[in-house]
């Protein structure tokens, strides 16, 4: 029997730590992918209560330093000390810490190394992997993951998003194994095409050094070509899947129709376009309420705007919600709107579709590629967005058809399909036969 491919996966978010799409996708994909390959998963923080069958999970918070064999080959790092950081606005941390970080673990004394390791590891002792010390954490992760990787037997390195890319590069430099970058989101999505800071540099150098890049949509593949100058033959887009849920509909206590926005209230998600669209719809259909579920740096401005326009009674902010509350909102919503300025995938649109909510989404999204039944407009085309929302609320024939067709679209989407596709690409590019 042919031996299974061994994949060393570098993850950042993983249940129970889920901040956004990355954690959901890393989990869904790894679980399905473990049927095809043997996975060792290195995470900054692992939870011993959360075990996925067939996946060896190593959380840096759980490693036994005293018994860790430190190979003498770890004498210097190729990438970590090289990186010309810091983007002070993005990651405000103090320079004196960085001096320590930039040092290499030299093999002079194993005790000293272990002391250093403990120090590096302590920064993973946090509930928020994205707080101020993100840059340090990314580098410590790279160092320690490299030590761990050198003691393992694997065929391919599979790194999820920029936080793990430096580790991926370092491991490839040490082991010579092929590096695959799985791109769930890019700096240019999060902060606009002008972002050329430290994170962008990490992404770009990793892409150049990688053997294969797997973005979650053709839309993101396009961004990798355009904004990072990567050759097309190195990129294979594979769409995300989605977990099946027990969807339900609930009786709303409000007489008005409900239009829902779900996600971080940040520039990337286009909340101001949602607000403009809403103002336009309310002008023509007063019996509609707009709900923004989520939080973010643009929330305050939008609240002020809605008060200024006297729409406070039509415009509601829930703040960040638990999954349970999110699902309840989906179960009473009449339209889901995702006006993202740049959305690599947009899992929440698929979740809305699962709950039988017709979707109005921006063309600048990966979800647009897998949901032919979603109504689409450019994120800035407020008239078209508003027209689409009104049409769904007004024309029953359209609403019914969209819901029906969305179930058809969803029937083609699963993590199983994603894993299968990823495996065939791995086989084709790195297989032994």
């Amino acid at each position: 029997m042919k031996e299974k491919m061994k994949v060393l996966t570098l993850g950042w978010e993983f249940p129970p730590i889920i901040n956004g799409g990355l954690g959901v996708a890393s989990y869904g994909l790894s679980k399905a992918f473990s049927k095809y390959v043997d996975i060792s998963l290195i995470l900054p923080k692992g939870d011993s209560n959360f075990i996925v069958n067939n996946i060896e999970t190593i959380g840096l918070n759980n490693i036994d330093i005293e018994n860790l064999k430190i190979s003498t080959t770890i004498s210097s790092y190729t990438f970590i000390s090289d990186v010309d950081f810091i983007d002070a606005n993005l990651l405000p941390y103090q320079t004196k810490d960085i001096a320590i970080l930039s040092e290499n673990y030299t093999a002079s004394s194993s005790t000293l190394i272990k002391e250093r390791l403990k120090k590096d590891l302590s920064i993973f002792d946090t509930d928020d992997l994205y707080d101020g010390a993100l840059g340090e954490r990314v580098q410590s992760f790279a160092k320690i993951a490299t030590i761990l990787a050198c003691q393992k037997d694997f065929d391919i390195i599979h790194a999820h998003d920029w936080m793990t890319f430096m580790a991926g590069m370092e491991i490839k430099a040490k082991t010579g194994k092929p590096l695959v970058l799985h791109v769930h989101s890019l700096e240019v999505d999060r902060n606009g095409p002008e972002s050329k800071g430290w994170v962008y540099q990490v992404e770009k150098s990793a892409m150049e050094y990688a053997d294969l890049i797997v973005p979650v949509s053709n839309y993101t593949a396009g961004a990798i070509k355009t904004f990072y100058g990567i050759a097309e033959n190195k990129i294979v887009a594979i769409h995300n899947g989605i977990e099946q849920v027990q969807a339900y509909r609930s009786e709303s206590s409000l007489p008005e129709k409900i239009v829902l926005f779900l996600g971080r209230i940040t520039g990337q998600k286009g909340p101001e376009y949602f607000f403009e669209t809403a103002s336009k719809v309310i002008e023509f259909m007063p019996n509609v309420r707009f709900v923004m579920a989520g939080s973010g740096n643009m929330m305050k401005g939008i609240i002020e705007n809605s008060a200024y326009k006297h729409l406070g009674n039509k415009f509601h902010f829930t703040g960040f919600l638990s999954q349970e509350r999110v699902r309840y909102l989906l179960s009473i919503a009449d339209v889901y709107v995702m006006p993202s300025v740049s959305e690599p995938f947009g899992l929440s649109a698929l979740e809305a579709a699962q709950f039988g909510v017709p979707c109005v989404i921006s063309k600048q999204s990966g979800a647009a590629e897998v949901l032919p039944s979603a109504l689409k407009a450019d994120f800035w085309d407020v008239d078209k967005m508003a027209g689409n929302i009104i049409s769904i609320l007004k024309y029953k024939g359209l609403r019914d058809q969209l819901v029906k067709d969305a179930y058809h679209d969803l029937s083609k989407i699963s993590w199983e399909n994603t894993a299968k596709e990823l495996y065939s690409v791995f086989e084709e590019r790195f297989g032994t036969n």
């Binding site: 008239d383 049409s391 024309y395 359209l398 058809q401």
Partner: protein
């Protein structure tokens, strides 16, 4: 053996991307610029060239007969955008070798929704054909060859003696499409059936490189004709006229194929080309073609599903025909005309969401990005139109 050509000539008045915020403000619905552009493009790729070729063949072969059906919509577009195209059809009519068929003036689905409306549109179309081509149609073809026993009966009442429709396997049940049938439910209507294999070889498959017979040559095609049962009386080749030079570009060799096929059949094979009326007069029906549920020539299902298979199409069609009484009550000719044009079947075809291979055909013809857009724009227009009708009725 006889070969019977019928070419369908039709262009819809496509609608504007009419958004919700225009309702109550903008009352012109058609995309005039786009319609003009498309008509002129097809005129130069297809209509003028193919008409010239057919005229040449008619002059060369006095026995070469065939038929056209021109919708009222395409006739109006010729007059509006490029009258010389209409003249070239009239030239063909003058030769006496071309039959012009009857259909619904608005290329509509009225036969399914309203008998009165259907009869009105068929008569209106007759008048147009008489006006432009000095012929009174005696052969009928309904929109997209939609047919059932009831439609056959109405056509008979309207004075027709022949109807063209699709040869549908589930109705033919191994009988031959190469003979005339009697329409059940009528006393003298003869039915001629499209040979969809041989018709689609010239239309759908002509440029299909994955097709085993590609490239189809006159020699290969004639070999197929020869292989037919010796008792075959007529091979009915029914297709969209736009196939010649538009769907199949000139570079595909479609014009040479048509020309050489006619020459080869007449010069060397002894086949004759007859119009549907000539075939009908000549052949005695041997059997009945009885159709309880609607059939058509569209998609692989050959039923109504291209226009009437999802809730958007049902709602849009239901609403447009529900307006009939009110629209006629206004006695406003402009409103009646706008409403009638909104009945053109293409508007509903664009709303089709069927996913399989045929979906591609719908996409090819649609001016919209998606069937949902097609529906949204149509319904916005209908909303505005309803306001106009209400206003007109109030003023009465």
């Amino acid at each position: 053996m006889n070969i019977c050509f019928y070419f369908q000539v039709h262009q819809p008045f496509r609608l504007l991307d009419y958004n919700f915020f225009q309702i109550g403000k903008d009352h012109f619905y058609e995309n005039d610029a786009l319609n003009r552009q498309i008509l002129q493009k097809i005129a130069s790729n297809c209509y003028l060239k193919t008409n010239a070729l057919l005229l040449e063949l008619i002059k060369k072969y006095p026995s070469f007969n065939f038929s056209f059906s021109l919708s009222g919509m395409v006739l109006e577009q010729f007059a509006l955008y490029q009258p010389e195209v209409l003249h070239s059809f009239q030239q063909l009519a003058k030769t006496g070798q071309v039959e012009f068929l009857g259909e619904t003036y608005y290329h509509s689905l009225a036969s399914i929704y309203s008998k009165d409306e259907f009869e009105f549109q068929v008569k209106l179309h007759e008048k147009a054909i008489e006006k432009y081509f000095s012929q009174k149609p005696t052969t009928f073809r309904n929109t997209e060859l939609i047919f059932d026993n009831v439609i056959a009966k109405i056509a008979e009442e309207l004075g027709y003696n022949t109807i063209l429709t699709e040869s549908v396997d589930r109705i033919l049940k191994n009988r031959s499409p190469h003979q005339a049938y009697a329409a059940s439910n009528t006393s003298h209507i003869k039915v001629l059936l499209r040979d969809y294999h041989l018709s689609d070889d010239i239309s759908f498959r002509f440029s299909d490189k994955s097709w085993q017979d590609y490239p189809i040559t006159v020699k290969k095609y004639v070999a197929k004709l020869k292989k037919l049962n010796p008792e075959a009386e007529t091979v009915n080749l029914f297709m969209d006229y736009e196939n010649f030079g538009e769907h199949q570009p000139e570079s595909s060799g479609i014009f040479a194929f048509l020309k050489n096929l006619v020459s080869e059949c007449i010069d060397n094979q002894g086949y004759t080309f007859k119009s549907p009326q000539q075939i009908s007069e000549m052949l005695k029906p041997k059997d009945e073609y009885s159709v309880e549920d609607y059939i058509s020539w569209a998609d692989t299902e050959r039923d109504l599903s291209a226009w009437l298979s999802n809730s958007m199409q049902y709602e849009a069609l239901h609403k447009i025909y529900a307006l009939r009484t009110d629209v006629l009550k206004t006695e406003n000719e402009d409103l009646i005309k706008v409403w009638s044009r909104l009945q053109t079947s293409d508007h509903y075809y664009y709303m089709c969401t069927k996913y399989w291979a045929d979906g591609d055909v719908h996409k090819y013809f649609s001016p919209y990005n998606s069937p949902y857009d097609a529906y949204i724009f149509f319904m916005n227009i209908l909303s505005d139109f309803e306001l106009l009708v209400k206003k007109a009725l109030k003023g009465k």
